[in-house]
């Protein structure tokens, strides 16, 4: 294979559509890793990497498939960082990635169903399956002495999957869920949902949604009508923006998101802020890690062909080896060059388990005086 042109990596995210407000930062995260490598010049004898963005639209599988098709057959990308939403991710995987034998690392598709998808060993994700988060969330709530909650979730595979696994875990732990009500994202009004939730009652409201979508609308309406005071926020709900917007109303609310107490996340925060990316945005760190893993695996295999490097990804992500944090990519490449083992930790303390997804260490947070504070790890 010639190393004449730059190595291309596709970034497929929903730049338009219901997640359009979080995807720029996700793409930014991935490009951060790519730029870092390019600046180091240590990748495959100084080859440069070029990011090619494509729009998954989050919801339109056909458009997403076409976009992926173009990335692979026209742009000739060596790997894909994406997609974001579980639905389109599945479509791209089945119709394009497998067919062409290209690796996909999704930073955010968290549907449990993807664990079972047939992938010919080509699909990975740096986010944990929602099955796991549900269990953690249940513990987090229980440990605060709350055993009765109302639950609302965004009506998609992510929300539903998370809500189901949470409810199961919570009830097994002895708690009770007074109501489990779906909400649709991007709608104009959530009074009806809040009315039902309030009527059912509970010591806290668990909101398995997106921070700038229906989830926010629900919290806003609950706060406005005084329906709930305490909110439990899983990964999709945590971001500085919502805390700023709602002000003191969120104080005392808590939640968890994939993350670890690795210095990685702190370093990433700094790097991202410097690059003008909001590091608290959901899945920004995961995106950085996804891109980094792709690059490192290629470097290790010394090839941009999926057949060669797909097998290296698990190896790179897990111990043994020297721990690699954000900003250490140059070092990592040198180590690889030198034939040494590395253990990529990255921004989110990546630890991949079979079948190629993040094991899921979770960070417990609480909102205090308008700031998101980490109170522990699980």
């Amino acid at each position: 294979e010639s190393h004449m042109g730059p190595v291309k990596i596709g970034i497929i995210l929903g730049f338009t559509g219901p997640l359009e407000s979080i995807t720029p930062d996700m793409a930014g995260g991935a490009e951060l890793a790519i730029n870092e490598v390019n600046e180091s010049g240590a990748f495959m004898d100084g080859a440069t990497i070029e990011a090619v963005r494509a729009d998954s639209t989050c919801i339109d599988s056909a458009a997403a498939t076409a976009a992926a098709e173009r990335l692979i057959t026209n742009d000739g990308v060596a790997g894909i960082m994406g997609a974001d939403c579980s639905g389109v991710t599945g479509a791209i995987l089945q119709n394009v990635a497998r067919a062409n034998g290209v690796v996909m690392i999704s930073p955010s598709a968290t549907s449990p169903a993807l664990s079972e998808a047939e992938d010919d060993g080509l699909f990975f994700r740096t986010a944990p399956s929602d099955a796991r988060q549900g269990e953690i969330m249940s513990k987090v709530i229980m440990d605060r002495g709350i055993d009765e909650v109302a639950l609302t979730y965004t009506n998609n595979d992510y929300g539903k999957g998370l809500a189901d696994s949470f409810q199961k875990a919570f009830e097994a732990d002895g708690g009770s869920v007074t109501i489990s009500a779906a909400h649709e994202d991007g709608k104009a009004d959530y009074s009806a949902e809040v009315g039902a939730l309030a009527s059912a009652g509970g010591a806290a409201l668990v909101v398995a949604g997106y921070t700038d979508q229906g989830g926010k609308g629900i919290i806003q309406a609950s706060v406005d009508s005084g329906a709930f005071d305490t909110f439990v926020l899983p990964d999709g709900m945590i971001g500085q923006q919502i805390v700023d917007d709602l002000g003191s109303a969120l104080d005392g609310s808590f939640g968890q998101l994939p993350g670890s107490d690795s210095e990685g996340s702190a370093i990433f925060q700094e790097m991202a802020t410097e690059a003008g990316i909001d590091p608290t945005g959901v899945y920004t760190g995961e995106s950085y890690d996804a891109a980094a893993l792709l690059i490192l695996a290629m470097a290790k295999a010394g090839s941009t062909s999926a057949a060669d490097y797909a097998g290296e990804i698990m190896d790179i992500a897990n111990a043994p080896g020297e721990q690699i944090l954000p900003g250490d990519l140059a070092k990592a490449l040198e180590l690889i060059e030198a034939g040494e083992e590395i253990d990529y930790v990255g921004a989110t303390a990546v630890e991949l388990v079979e079948p190629g997804e993040s094991a899921g260490t979770f960070k417990e947070i609480e909102i205090k005086d308008g700031a998101i504070e980490t109170v522990g790890f699980r």
Partner: protein
């Protein structure tokens, strides 16, 4: 007695007040849609994005005002900026008409072609708004958010249930009432208003009567700009501004305009409330209210919910369809092409 009061307050707080607030927001949007349909005779898909554009313009002006230290006391600053926002939107709409719609009007294109054209306009405006202000959530409300909030209400009355009334709710309700009254008066009593109706009724004959079509169209777009911007700003103050949500508002707004009777301002208002209340009421869980009302041993163990909130939209649309089956051109006898 307190139980009864608590029940009433709970119902008001979670059904009546939110329903009225949402209803008024939809109604204001539907007024614009219905006016375009009534005069220019097509369903304007770009209306949601027009609202977004108007709101965006107003937000930019608001930021400008805030940065030079102007505010409006307990009222949101955006209300001062609103007239300027309306003016900017008016210019945009007039420009759009000149560049795009006029051609099809001259061609006497079928209404459905105009609908498709307006989808094109929607895409373009959509991009425009996002280019200028981005895709994120923007909170531009300042001033007092509540006339009374739940906690204060509880403290004041000593009841268990709180009642919250947001200032934007009141402003929206009042605005909607004034807007419909003005529009009604304008269309039915003033010369210009009548000439607009004449234009929509029989364009050729309007011409023969000396009515200037370009003027009619311009006036229509200007009113639409005012309605859309006001609707958008009030909605944004209440919730927040996000381009995508404004696009999503389009469907309930259309539903409101149609169920009320297209082309009829009163219908738009009625339709707005029908849609809003059918969303809120049918999926309401009556448990809490019943707990207050019924003696202890009869209290319900379940939620007493007719349908789960999953079916909120399905139900509101089902109600809409039922209304149409009995009133085929809407509650207030709308037009149909």
């Amino acid at each position: 007695m307190t139980d009864l009061l608590n029940a009433i307050v709970a119902l008001s707080n979670f059904v009546l007040v939110p329903g009225a607030a949402y209803g008024a927001q939809l109604a204001l949007g539907a007024l614009g849609v219905t006016l375009i349909y009534g005069i220019l005779r097509f369903s304007n898909f770009a209306h949601g994005d027009t609202m977004a554009f108007g709101t965006m313009a107003t937000i930019l002006v608001t930021w400008g005002l805030q940065s030079i230290g102007i505010s409006f006391g307990f009222l949101p600053t955006a209300l001062i900026a609103l007239p300027i926002g309306i003016a900017i939107t008016g210019l945009l709409l007039l420009g759009t008409d000149r560049v795009i719609y006029r051609f099809y009007r001259k061609q006497k294109a079928a209404p459905v072609v105009l609908v498709i054209v307006s989808i094109g306009v929607m895409f373009v405006m959509n991009g425009l708004v996002r280019f200028i202000i981005g895709v994120g959530d923007i909170n531009f409300a300042d001033g007092a958010r509540f006339v009374i909030n739940a906690r204060e209400f509880k403290e004041m009355t000593g009841l268990d249930e709180g009642l919250a009334i947001r200032s934007t709710t009141l402003i929206t309700l009042v605005t909607a009432a004034i807007a419909v009254a003005l529009l009604f008066w304008f269309l039915n009593r003033t010369r210009t208003g009548k000439s607009m109706r004449a234009f929509s009724d029989n364009e050729d004959l309007a011409l023969l009567s000396g009515i200037n079509p370009e003027r009619v169209v311009a006036v229509t777009w200007l009113i639409v700009a005012a309605l859309a911007t006001t609707a958008g700003v009030l909605y944004g103050l209440d919730k927040s501004f996000k381009a995508f949500t404004y696009f999503q508002l389009l469907l309930p707004i259309f539903a409101a305009a149609i169920v009320g009777g297209l082309g009829n301002p009163l219908g738009a208002i009625a339709g707005g409330f029908v849609i809003a209340f059918s969303e809120v009421l049918v999926t309401y869980a009556w448990k809490k209210v019943l707990e207050y009302l019924l003696p202890e041993n009869l209290e319900p163990s379940s939620l007493v919910q007719l349908l789960s909130t999953d079916y909120k939209f399905a139900v509101s649309f089902a109600i809409l369809i039922i209304v149409l089956l009995f009133k085929p051109t809407g509650l207030f006898k709308g037009q149909s092409v």
